[in-house]
């Protein structure tokens, strides 16, 4: 049996999937790390020239501000064209803006407002409050909520004593929880609802503004955006909504005084269909309108104003309101706003200083600050580049040089201010302003490059690699019944090629001929590998292996239809949201179809029945049925029950507002009523006991619990010990508040010790399995030919049966092994030598597997909330039922030959069950639904590093994937186990007639696998590739959905998190699949050694 190539091959397949995922992620998932540093009034970034005049960085111009955000207010909506006689529904509706900008050009101005992609509302709100470029995943210190951790405008306002009143979109509540002085939130979820939010705001807006109990009012209107989503911009509803907004602005202006600044801004634009999210011109061009009753602008503008980047609003607003600029701001100031007062020189000076202030702020962030200002605290992106390092170093260096020269120039100018004439000074200042402005633009450009742009090439290449990897899996899985795969051609040569290609690329990079990052190199290696694989496969297809071609209509057979439906469902946001119901539905359908097909193919009737020859309506000639029929129906019903019951443990996501998360998800300590608490605790312990009991019963049934090897002892005593430990831990953790003060330290200690003890016990168990996975009980006795004839008629499953049947297994093994090993004259010796009874030989592979799974289950249960234990019980039961159905079906369809190839439906059902139980263990593929508590099981005081908690949370999140993929080898082993009863029944009949037993009537069970090691190895490989294929196809459709629908309204809420979870889940599944297969190989190795030792003993 070739073990190493098999593992290596599967590893390579997984790695090629990983590189596809990685490549796609690098192009799709723009990541940024949030820093928690905050700007303070007392710490200006440089000794500003206006320091003495300003209490905080820069003189305050306005005391109050009203910020009106109109969601999706496109520039086209706000722009008024008097010459347009035939306006579209969305044109020329905001007349008040036009009227103000023309009649009071120094008081009002309308700008195009350039949003940065992704143009989704949440990211935009983050963008114009932090002044940064938020990406989809802002890796902050806290994943569990969407709250903004970074320094931001709202935070600075509140820090500096402004009373901020908010009304409108409740997204702000998630982003700034409990920050506002007063707030009126309205639900934003229902896109079809055009008026609730807007009408709600209008109820409160004017009274609040008139009331005077505020410094900053923020109103976020959603109507226009919802109109766009529902009807598209070119619709009469949009016209109505815009007219309403016009009314709102003009009324609002009447309520303002001269100390107040009015900002009307759109957070993003929309496409012609009313969507947004991407980076097209129409989506990023929003409108910004500034107005104040006091003159705001120094000069009149002759032409249309230039576009203002959205991040520029933050520093401008901060300086106008006299608060510090938020720390992570990347924007520049809006020039025009700092041209006042009239005196040109002062104007220039103040502008320069504002610029400089801002640039410096920014500079400290961006570059290597220690070169020039060693005394400054490293600021935003200095800290950032230290934390993340994804900004290109050479570009940062250029920026740093540029800024240092500008700063030097500015300081020189300031120092020699008096010596120069006014014109000279002004010209110099002008130059410096230009320089600073372009510096800021470049800095923003550098950051945008790495934070705010998709890389279509990476995404497409990632998809292609995933696709070809899936295809590769499919080829291997269907590579006929080749008894041996030509590993040399399919693994060796391609691997050689790809390693040499990687080496060459590495050399080229080292010699700096080309510049490539690690992702690209990895992808290139994968591509080379796959190309040479396909080449080799094509050339040798005819000779050494054939790819079983299937007729095209088989696409319409059950498993493929279900797989197709499943993949298509990943492209619809509603289906992703409803996946917790879709996966069980498909699973039940799939298995029902399988059983019905079995009946349709007349496999459930005994072969004597011939329907064509009978007048079957006569009751006397009714066909006889196998018992399997009713048993299969019972199993199906049980499966349906399990699936339905496991739905009780569901969690909810915010897209389904009516959904109530299951009460079982909260920890037991949160239950108030002591009776319920005790009852639930008891139930959980009983479930836990059941799990252990069933596993022991199973092992006992197959005779694997008789030996006295350490592993069996571990199962006998270690499992109850683990259960006891878990029970202790739960009792302590759910009742800590009630404990006495004296005992508190003791309980605290116990809370730490008991889970750790369980981890240690579990690790010990896994080590024992690795060390000696054999659970066979051997009993030697004198050879007595008469005694070997077993006449057994007891009840199945009884202890007597074990005594009689299982020993028989060995004899045939002994003979075949001896003939294979070609010991001289062993055939003769064997009959005369001692016979050996081996208990549990027929299930030695599955026993090791089952023990491993149960250890993993117990540990995973502990990582979950107590009351999810029944969910795990259901998980195991469901897996058991699927295996049983599969075993029955496989045995009915074939007589031994086909057992080596696991059919597609079984693998698909297995993976569907894995996705179903992802949900039924209380998870959802969104970040707020992750069970963060699991990181502290056994680590009450927190962690010192990040790796262990990450692993624990991952184990908790993907526990279903872990259990199902580690157990996927059972799909191959189980039909051999199920073979036993049928074979025995036949034997029983024969015995009663002949009174004699032939060796070949013995149930061989898993020893069949050992008899044919080459086919065993190929079968394992094909099982692995089938599982990888099914997982990979699902991943591929998630990836494609995220790529194709990247402009979709729901991409950042549904598709991108789904892709992330699916990708991570794939990595976890493939790892545990490999581990499972490795375990089977380890058992195989051990069994070989065991036989060898036995032969040696016998020959002695």
């Amino acid at each position: 049996m070739r073990r190493a190539p098999l593992l290596l091959y599967l590893t390579w397949l997984s790695v090629s999937f990983y590189s596809g995922i990685w490549l796609f992620t690098s192009g799709f998932l723009l990541m940024r790390i949030e820093l928690n540093n905050q700007s303070r009034c007392s710490e200006p970034p440089s000794p500003a020239p206006h320091r003495q005049a300003a209490p905080c960085w820069f003189p305050q111009r306005f005391h109050k501000a009203v910020i009106v955000i109109i969601d999706a207010l496109k520039y086209d909506f706000a722009k008024y064209n008097p010459a347009n006689n035939n306006p579209k529904p969305y044109e020329n509706k905001l007349g008040i803006i036009h009227q103000l900008t023309t009649s009071q050009p120094q008081h009002a101005r309308l700008y195009p407002f350039r949003a940065d992609p992704p143009t989704t509302t949440m990211q935009r709100i983050k963008g114009f409050t932090t002044g940064s470029l938020p990406t989809f995943v802002d890796v902050g210190s806290n994943f569990a909520s969407y709250a903004i951790q970074e320094d931001n405008l709202i935070h600075q306002m509140i820090q500096n004593g402004k009373r901020v009143v908010f009304m409108g979109d409740d997204t702000w509540d998630g982003l700034f929880p409990k920050k506002f002085y007063k707030s009126f939130f309205f639900p934003s979820f229902n896109v079809k609802d055009l008026h609730t939010v807007d009408d709600g705001i209008l109820q409160h807006l004017y009274p609040t503004v008139d009331g005077g109990d505020w410094d900053v009012v923020i109103a976020h209107f959603l109507g226009v955006d919802h109109c766009g989503h529902k009807h598209g911009p070119d619709h009469a509803e949009t016209a109505k909504k815009l007219t309403q907004m016009n009314q709102v602005i003009s009324t609002l202006i009447d309520h303002l005084d001269d100390q107040t600044l009015l900002v009307v801004a759109g957070d993003h634009g929309m496409t012609d269909t009313g969507d947004h999210g991407g980076d097209s011109e129409k989506e990023v061009t929003a409108a910004l309108f500034l107005y104040s009753k006091a003159p705001l602008f120094a000069d009149q503008l002759q032409t249309d104003p230039p576009a203002v980047p959205q991040v520029n609003l933050v520093p401008s607003l901060s300086l106008l309101l006299g608060i510090p600029i938020p720390y992570s701001n990347l924007g520049a100031i809006i020039d025009d706003l700092f041209g006042f007062p009239r005196d040109k020189l002062t104007a220039q000076l103040s502008k320069t200083s504002a610029y400089h202030l801002n640039a410096q702020q920014d500079y400290f962030s961006t570059g290597n600050v220690l070169l020039i200002y060693p005394y400054k605290v490293a600021r935003y992106l200095d800290s950032y580049s230290r934390a993340a390092g994804d900004l290109p170093a050479d570009k940062l260096r250029v920026l740093a040089d540029r800024f240092s020269s500008l700063t030097a120039e500015y300081e020189q100018l300031m120092a020699h201010q008096e010596q120069q004439s006014e014109e000279e000074l002004e010209a110099h200042l002008q130059m410096i302003i230009q320089g600073l402005r372009s510096y800021l633009d470049q800095a923003r450009e550098v950051c945008m490059e790495s934070w705010a742009r998709f890389h279509p090439l990476h995404m497409i290449m990632g998809c292609i690699i995933l696709l070809t990897s899936c295809f590769l899996c499919y080829i291997i899985a269907e590579a006929g019944s080749a008894s041996t795969l030509p590993y040399k051609y399919l693994l060796g040569y391609p691997l050689l090629f790809s390693i040499s290609a990687t080496a060459m690329l590495g050399l080229a990079i080292w010699m700096s001929v080309v510049e490539l990052d690690l992702v690209t190199v990895c992808a290139a290696a994968t591509i080379v590998y796959q190309m040479s694989f396909y080449f080799n496969f094509r050339t040798r297809k005819g000779s050494e292996m054939s790819w079983r071609k299937r007729p095209i209509y088989l696409i319409l057979s059950g498993p493929w239809v279900v797989l197709l439906v499943r993949c298509c469902s990943l492209f619809s946001d509603s289906y992703v949201v409803a996946e917790a119901n879709v996966a069980p539905f498909l699973l039940t359908s799939l298995l029902t179809v399988t059983v019905v097909k079995l009946h349709w193919d007349s496999k459930l009737m005994l072969p004597t029945f011939n329907p064509l020859g009978n007048e079957s309506l006569k009751p006397s000639l009714t066909p006889t049925y196998r018992k399997d029929g009713s048993r299969l129906l019972g199993l199906l019903a049980a499966l349906g029950l399990c699936v339905r019951l496991s739905g009780l443990f569901h969690n909810c996501r915010e897209e389904t507002p009516d959904c109530q998360p299951s009460s079982f998800l909260s920890p037991l300590s949160s239950v108030r009523d002591p009776d319920i608490k005790n009852f639930s605790y008891l139930c959980c312990i009983v479930c836990l006991g059941f799990i252990v009991f069933f596993i022991r019963k199973w092992l006992q049934h197959y005779g694997n619990l008789n030996s006295s090897s350490p592993l069996v002892l571990y199962v006998r005593w270690g499992f109850p010990l683990i259960v006891l430990g878990i029970a202790c831990y739960w009792a302590l953790s759910s009742g800590t508040e009630d404990s006495l003060a004296k005992l508190r330290e003791l309980t605290h200690l116990a809370l730490v010790v008991s889970p750790r003890a369980i981890y240690a016990l579990a690790a010990l168990g896994l080590l024992l399995i690795l060390w000696n996975p054999i659970t066979i009980f051997m009993k030697s006795r004198a050879s007595d030919e008469d005694n070997t004839v077993t006449t057994y008629h007891g009840a199945p499953g009884s202890a007597a049966e074990l005594q009689h049947v299982i020993p028989q297994i060995y004899r045939k093994m002994q003979r075949t092994l001896k003939s294979r090993l070609q010991h001289g004259g062993v055939g003769e010796d064997g009959k005369k030598g001692t016979a050996v009874e081996a208990y549990g030989l027929g299930s030695v592979y599955s026993a090791a597997m089952v023990i491993t799974i149960s250890i993993l289950t117990l540990v995973l249960i502990m990582l979950h909330s107590e009351r999810l234990t029944p969910a795990f019980l259901l998980l195991l039961l469901e897996a058991f039922i699927i295996l049983h159905i599969h075993g029955h079906v496989a045995n009915l369809y074939s007589d031994g030959v086909e057992l080596f190839s696991v059919p597609w439906y079984a693998v698909l059902a297995w993976s569907l069950a894995a996705s179903q139980h992802f949900y039924s263990t209380g998870h959802q593929p969104v970040f707020p639904a992750i069970h963060w508590n699991s990181a502290f099981v056994g680590f009450q005081d927190g962690h010192t590093n990040n790796i262990i908690p990450a692993l624990m949370v991952a184990a908790n999140t993907f526990s279903a994937s872990i259990l199902f993929s580690a157990g996927s080898c059972l799909l191959l082993l189980w039909p051999f186990l199920c073979e036993a009863p049928t074979a025995r029944r036949k034997k029983g009949k024969k015995e009663s007639r002949e009174g004699d037993t032939e060796d070949h009537d013995m149930p061989m069970m898993e020893m069949r696998l050992r008899e044919d090691p080459d086919r065993f190895s190929v079968a394992l490989l094909q099982l692995g590739t089938k599982y990888l294929f099914i997982q990979g196809v699902q991943l591929l459709s998630c990836v494609c959905a995220a790529m194709i629908l990247r402009r979709h309204l729901m991409v950042w809420k549904v598709f991108a998190p789904k892709f992330l979870f699916e990708g991570l889940g794939f990595v976890v599944s493939s790892l545990f699949l490999l581990l499972g297969i490795a375990l089977v190989l380890r058992v195989d190795c051990a069994v070989s050694n065991w036989f060898k030792r036995l032969i040696v003993q016998q020959n002695r």
Partner: protein, 220 residues
């Protein structure tokens, strides 16, 4: 070989069955006030099931697809009728259970679920009962690959398959967020089942005619 006359009788029967569904859509507006397929779906479910069952019974009495050679006594007939009703009721309960296991709500809208189960039973079980009688073994035989022994058996296979597949496919629009009135449980499923049933009725004679060479039935 195929009996052409039998096939003609079958087609006529199917057209009548199809008409039953049409009647259930067309007649109630005259009988009930504000009847609509979507608005008063429960009424329609009842009416449609009743129509389909009535037509099936009528067909049994007129066309006699499965003439029994044995003379049967009155008690035997009563017994048979009793068993037929029992089977039908049990099949309704079974369908209800299966639908719930497939994910239908357990407690809320129990009435809808049960009426849907009745509709499915009237599409499948009532036809089985009329054609094969309350003979469970015959049912099992018919629904296997080589089990059909007459055009009626084939038509039974096809309509049952189509109704159930239709109901299954009808579940797919439910999760979508289109907010259409027909996405409400169990409207889409019952509509799917009905479409499937009608399609099966129309398809079956053609399919049998198409495959007439292949299908040979031993004479009874």
């Amino acid at each position: 070989m195929m009996d052409e006359a039998e096939l003609r009788r079958l087609s006529a029967g199917h057209i009548l069955c199809g008409l039953a569904v049409v009647v259930s859509l067309g007649v109630p507006p005259f009988l009930f006030e504000d009847f609509s397929l979507l608005g008063s779906h429960l009424t329609w479910l009842c009416v449609c099931s009743a129509c389909v069952i009535t037509v099936n019974v009528l067909l049994l009495l007129t066309l006699k697809p499965n003439p029994s050679t044995k003379r049967s006594s009155f008690t035997h007939k009563v017994n048979k009728l009793y068993r037929t009703c029992l089977y039908f009721f049990v099949s309704c309960l079974l369908f209800h259970g299966i639908i719930v296991l497939y994910g239908a709500p357990l407690v809320e809208s129990v009435g809808e679920t049960f009426l849907f189960a009745v509709l499915l039973s009237s599409f499948t079980t009532s036809r089985c009962l009329c054609i094969l009688g309350p003979n469970f073994h015959a049912w099992i035989r018919v629904f296997s690959k080589d089990g059909a022994m007459s055009v009626w058996d084939h038509s039974l296979q096809i309509t049952t398959f189509c109704s159930i597949v239709g109901a299954w496919l009808g579940a797919f629009p439910i999760p979508l967020d289109w907010d259409r009135p027909w996405q409400v449980w169990p409207i889409s499923c019952s509509l799917g089942a009905t479409f499937g049933y009608v399609a099966g009725l129309l398809l079956a004679p053609f399919w049998i005619y198409w495959n007439r060479k292949r299908l040979t039935y031993k004479s009874r």
